[in-house]
């Protein structure tokens, strides 16, 4: 049976992850183990949720470079509210983060869909804008873990299921739920299929009479909402939030999406691919730090290389470009 291109890509990614695990297990003692899984899976979860949002936007032949700033903004804002009032209900806090993210995403969406500004320009602008607003708003103050409610501080170590020393963190469970939800949405809902259609051929989508503007807008809103959720988890994970929180996450999310096989020119890719892409990137980064004490700058270089390699491999070997 002929495999879908997406399925093949996912297989290759899984294989690569296994190879990376095997490679590092030769270099680092006691590398493979419950500790690695517990730590990396929690770290992957945050990036994966962001990458799923990015996927929705990239599928429509757009891009959202402002997600890092949205994460920082929501993390700071929600952290501040929780510091001021420790009694805010957890659910309210989550909704606050998701809602704020969605609102910031909606700004991007309006500018892209109705003002006809290219997404790369819009989100490059809001990347800087949202961050600057955060700096002004926060007055360069820092959210401190000590002021946060206990349930939030405990959240990263909250387990849903445990097997001996292997833990499935709540954060990871949330990520898996989001992934399943959006995989189903993209595969089976007419909304999801139309996102693919728009990215595949905007002209054909327009002449088929799809409400392309509303669909693109919705993609940006959902991407913002997921970035907001990421911001909440970011706050829970790190506790101390400064104005530079989430800086550089846009690059990581784009890298995860591209490595995960979502066509940067829209129209193809899957949520599973994005999750695997995020896993590969985070695993590599984590392991490199442990084995070589690689500096932060080199980690950025690694991301750059991964993005370039993924896109180059796509266009050279898979002949996948904007034009068929």
């Amino acid at each position: 049976m002929r495999l879908r291109a997406e399925t093949r890509r996912e297989g290759v990614l899984l294989l690569l992850i296994v190879l990376v695990l095997f490679g590092f297990s030769l270099v680092i003692e006691n590398y493979l183990g419950a500790r690695l899984f517990n730590r990396v899976s929690a770290s992957v979860a945050i990036l994966a949720i962001l990458a799923i949002g990015q996927t929705l936007v990239v599928l429509t032949r757009n891009i959202d470079l402002s997600v890092g700033s949205i994460v920082g903004f929501t993390a700071y804002f929600v952290g501040q509210q929780l510091s001021l009032d420790n009694d805010i209900h957890p659910l309210v806090a989550v909704l606050m983060a998701v809602g704020l993210g969605a609102a910031l995403g909606a700004c991007n969406g309006v500018l892209v869909a109705w003002c006809r500004v290219p997404a790369i320009i819009v989100t490059l602008g809001t990347l800087a804008l949202y961050r600057t607003i955060l700096v002004e708003y926060s007055d360069a103050q820092t959210i401190l873990t000590v002021n946060l409610p206990q349930w939030l501080i405990d959240l990263p170590r909250l387990n849903v299921v445990s097997y001996e020393r292997l833990h499935l963190r709540a954060v990871v469970a949330v990520m898996l739920a989001v992934a399943v939800l959006f995989q189903l949405l993209l595969r089976y809902s007419s909304f999801g299929r139309r996102l693919y259609a728009i990215g595949s051929s905007p002209e054909a989508a327009h002449s088929a009479g799809f409400p392309t503007r509303r669909l693109v807008f919705a993609a940006f809103v959902l991407c913002g909402a997921l970035a907001g959720l990421t911001g909440f988890l970011f706050l829970a994970r790190f506790g101390n939030i400064t104005v530079v929180a989430g800086l550089g996450l846009e690059l990581k999310s784009v890298a995860a999406v591209v490595v995960g096989g979502i066509n940067i020119f829209g129209g193809s890719g899957s949520v599973l691919g994005a999750v695997l892409g995020a896993s590969l990137i985070d695993l590599l980064e984590n392991s490199l730090i442990r084995s070589l004490q690689v500096s932060e700058f080199l980690r950025d270089a690694l991301l750059g290389i991964l993005i370039l390699a993924a896109v180059a491999i796509d266009s050279v070997f898979m002949k996948r470009r904007r034009d068929p």
């Binding site: 002929r2 291109a5 595969r187 089976y188 809902s189 007419s190 299929r193 139309r194 693919y196 259609a197 990215g199 595949s200 051929s201 002209e203 054909a204 989508a205 002449s207 088929a208 009479g209 066509n263 129209g267 193809s268 068929p324």
Partner: protein
Amino acid sequence: MSSPSADPPPGAGAAPGAAPARAAPVLEVTGVSKRFDMTQALDDVSLSLHAGEVHALVGENGAGKSTLIKILTGVEQSDEGEVRVEGRTVHLANAQEAQACGVAAIYQEPLVFPDLDVAENIFITHRDQALLVNWPRMYAKAEDLLASLGVRLDVRAPARGLTLASQQAVEIAKAISLEVKVLIMDEPTASLSDHEVRQLFRVARQLRDRGVAVLFITHRLEEVFEIADRITVLRDGEHISTRPAGEVTRDLLIRDMVGREVDQFYGIGGDWRSRTIGRQVCRVRGLGREGVFSGIDFDLHEGEVLGFAGLVGSRRTDVALALFGIQPADRGTVEIDGRTVRITSPRAAQQLGVAYMTEDRRKLGLAMPLSIAANVTLPVLRRYLSRLGLVQRSREEAAAEGFRERLRIKAPSALHVVGKLSGGNQQKVMFGKWLNTRPRIFLLDEPTRGIDVGAKAEVHAMVRELAEEGMAILCISSDLPEVLAMSDRILVMREGRQMGILGGSEATQEAVMSLATGEAGEEDPDAGAGRAAS
């Protein structure tokens, strides 16, 4: 998901060609007019389509066929007149509303979603009802639909790799699933191989037998006689005739399509034709480009105007692009001044004294935001450089000023921005730009497209002047009377092949049309080869 059905819609079963005139028409167009700036694209056109007929729409380039289709599919709106579907007056404000009325169109190059698979391409437009996609059911239905058309396609394969013919089949299947009443096929055969054309005709007949009204637009007259029950001719935006196919002869059809007297429009004196033509400048033999055109043979002399006639898709522009090195030829020879040359780039062509004036001013011709001076000196900027390698504005301006006066470009100065000029004046700037390269062979591609009558006359005068000065001119034009009036000889092309060269008294509108539509001319054994590879 809505229920796509392969069952024939109500009203099906009308015998093919059986006097449809008695039944009420499915689609009726009355008194439709449409104007674009200078041109009256449609003038009081009426047309009716009946269930179960294949209705052919023919006409020269610019006869108004495309405009009529755009109005019927809601892409353009008419200025006057009305469209009725099943007796109901409809206002087709966009493609969506046309589709809702049961009018769909397939084009020479279908608009598919390349990343989506075949089945999804068929059904994605009507998913409004259901929330979720039932993939197995969709695949099964797509398979049924395609099978009912006699088409074998993998419904799970992405549309990206499909041939044009298969993409058209997908579009037709989509139209059937939407239960269209009227299917417009706009030159669907232009890029198909003979075998694919057969298959398309079979499908078209099948649709007719199911009670669909098929409006079939084509440039190939033999296809018209093969498929059509009735034939409507448009000319210059007017409705000329509608007749049952059985009552029409080829000659009658061509006369309806052509209809005009040449010299009414182009009062060109006989003395210009009597001038002497100089020695041979260019000799072309067997020129071709894989899958595009082949077998082009002609000689070009000093002071001669060689016209290139043919219908849309006859690949005339491709020959010019090859001679100018933009898309170099891959077979045949070109001799200039008796020396065999290889023209592999526009730069090489210019060095050989060849200039090409494009039909697409906006995209390939002029830098619209720049001044006349900057445009005119662009191909030969080296001549205007100072010793430091910087452009000398004063010399540039002086040269452009010269062209402005000589070509009578209506602009306050040579520093005026080109984008703000009228079409006719832009055309003159383009002339100036290429004359500035001092060409000996000038390839003109639709030199009068989109400009008004006065500017046309000036362009004609300019071409004559250049020929009298001894320039060798190759002129592509879709305006048949214009080609006839301007050219010493006319090379007629059809689907990438040379159908013949007409000179002197042989060159009549009827003769040119007859070659261009493939009604005359030698039959070549590899006739299909040129268009099989699209």
